[in-house]
Amino acid sequence: MRPGWVLRLLAFCGYALLLAPVIVVAIISFSAGDFLTFPPPGFSTRWYEALFANGQLMAALQRSAILASVVAVIALLAGMPAAYAIARLRFPGRDAIAMLIAAPLLLPTLVLGLALLLALQPLKLAATWPGLVLAHSMVALPFAVRIMTTAFGAVPKEVEEAAWTLGATPARAALRITLPIAAPGAAAAGALCFLVSFDETVISLFLVGPRLSTLPVEMFRYVETRTDPLVAALAMALIGVALAVVLLVERLVGFNRALGRG
């Protein structure tokens, strides 16, 4: 049935609410004004120039990119074997393990951040790279495992069995046959884990220090104190990364499947 005009209008309102902030940020990042005035008094790239000239923010951007890359690699390296076990092997406690791995998603990030602070501070790991990497890997891991479980599950069992009958040991068949077939899933999982870490704000707020801060934390603090279009330019950097990841994930495995809950 074709949607009626009432539905179209309401849906348009819904989309407007969903997309307005991103669109407005994109426009205002090119503002020539000194404040978050909309419509902008004029257009320029001065705030992007200011952003690139801002040593503290650029350092944070670099740090976040490195952190997110490391986290993506760790989450994949730890998540793929676990996902393979969950998707392919039968062992006691399989459902319990799958639930445990998904559990961090059920807890508010605020509580996770607090818990990590309480645990890492006495170990002198708060405000350190290892602490941040551990915290971010823990939040990224459920995403990696979920996507890879689906990806491995989608590889027909018979293809792996065919490899066994041709003389491949189970480990070799998993590495040579199943993993390459699931490679698009792995790329999507890596991209998503990168983004989860790159965007992670709340947990990081608990774990960063004066000399080790990430881009989202810097941006959070900036918004808390000042409001000029520089922060819009900064937001565009994060939106750009998110957009790239969204398109990549959509292309590789389909977005709904990656994030869907059922």
Partner: protein
């Protein structure tokens, strides 16, 4: 292949980064804070008593619950037409439309708040429009207060509501509505008598999920509230990092977890009874 070996790295990360910290959080909530503000190891419910006995905690809880309920309701209500449109759209548009509804989930919350500041601020889009139309001489206060938090939270919860509704309504056969139409029902009647009752379980699930997420939201209340809106999450943050009263922060966090657990159990029970 050995399942235990394959699971080991993931389990190690979870043990060190999740299980141990959360267990420690529970443990620390049983400690005491001395008069000079230092944490003293103990096994007491004194901190819980102090937190629960404080009227401010209950005020925060009420603020948090009403804020979350209002925003969750608004997010679910606004997500419904979006998802109904996605469902009715021709297949080649469906992917793009659902991508547009869900993708904001992946855009940093802070970045979206910058957008809201530019829309709702004193010199923002709304106030500029109102002034231009001669409808207001004074700027409407839409940020740094509860209104701003409500709007921002509604928007940040909407993608989740869409996700749940897409999954829930995707299973409904669109021919049911066509059947109602062939039987002479108007669009409104079809919606009220067929679509809405069938969508009810999904709507309930969407509301409960967004409510739970709204209760624990931190960034939006903090930034859109301009430090003037207080909820449980902001209080936990301040206790941990400003006051540095770890036992109190831990106790409040444990109470929040307890409340969320109750909500989760309720949700499971409700969705199960809705399905039965």
């Amino acid at each position: 292949m050995n399942a235990a070996l394959l699971l080991l790295p993931a389990v190690l990360i979870l043990a060190a980064g999740f299980l141990y910290p959360v267990a420690l959080l529970g443990r620390i909530s049983l400690n005491r804070t001395s008069d000079i503000g230092a944490m003293e190891p103990d096994l007491t419910l004194a901190t819980f008593e102090k937190v629960v006995g404080d009227d401010f905690t209950w005020e925060l809880a009420w603020n948090t619950a009403t804020l979350a309920a209002g925003s969750a309701l608004a997010a679910t209500a606004l997500a419904l037409p979006v998802v109904l449109l996605i469902r009715a759209a021709p297949p080649r548009w469906r992917g793009l439309l659902s991508l547009m509804a869900i993708a904001p989930l992946l855009v940093s919350g802070t970045a979206r708040i910058v957008g809201w500041l530019a829309i709702l601020g004193d010199q923002g889009l709304i106030n500029a429009a109102l002034e231009g139309l001669g409808l207001a001489t004074e700027p409407l206060r839409l940020i740094n207060n509860l209104t701003g938090v409500r709007i921002g939270l509604t928007e940040s919860l909407m993608p989740y509501a869409c996700l749940v509704l897409i999954a829930g309504l995707g299973r409904l056969d669109p021919r049911l509505e066509e059947a109602a139409a062939t039987l002479g029902a108007t669009r409104t009647k079809t919606f009220l008598r067929v679509t809405l009752p069938l969508a009810a379980p999904a709507l309930l699930a969407a509301f409960l999920l967004t409510f739970v997420l709204g209760v624990s939201a931190f960034i939006t209340p903090r930034l859109m509230g301009g430090g003037r809106v207080f909820v449980i999450a902001t209080e936990i943050f301040d206790l941990a990092l400003e006051t540095v009263d770890w036992p109190a922060a831990a106790a409040l966090a444990m109470l929040l977890l307890g409340a969320l657990a109750v909500a989760l159990v309720l949700r499971t029970a409700l969705t199960r009874s809705a399905r039965a």
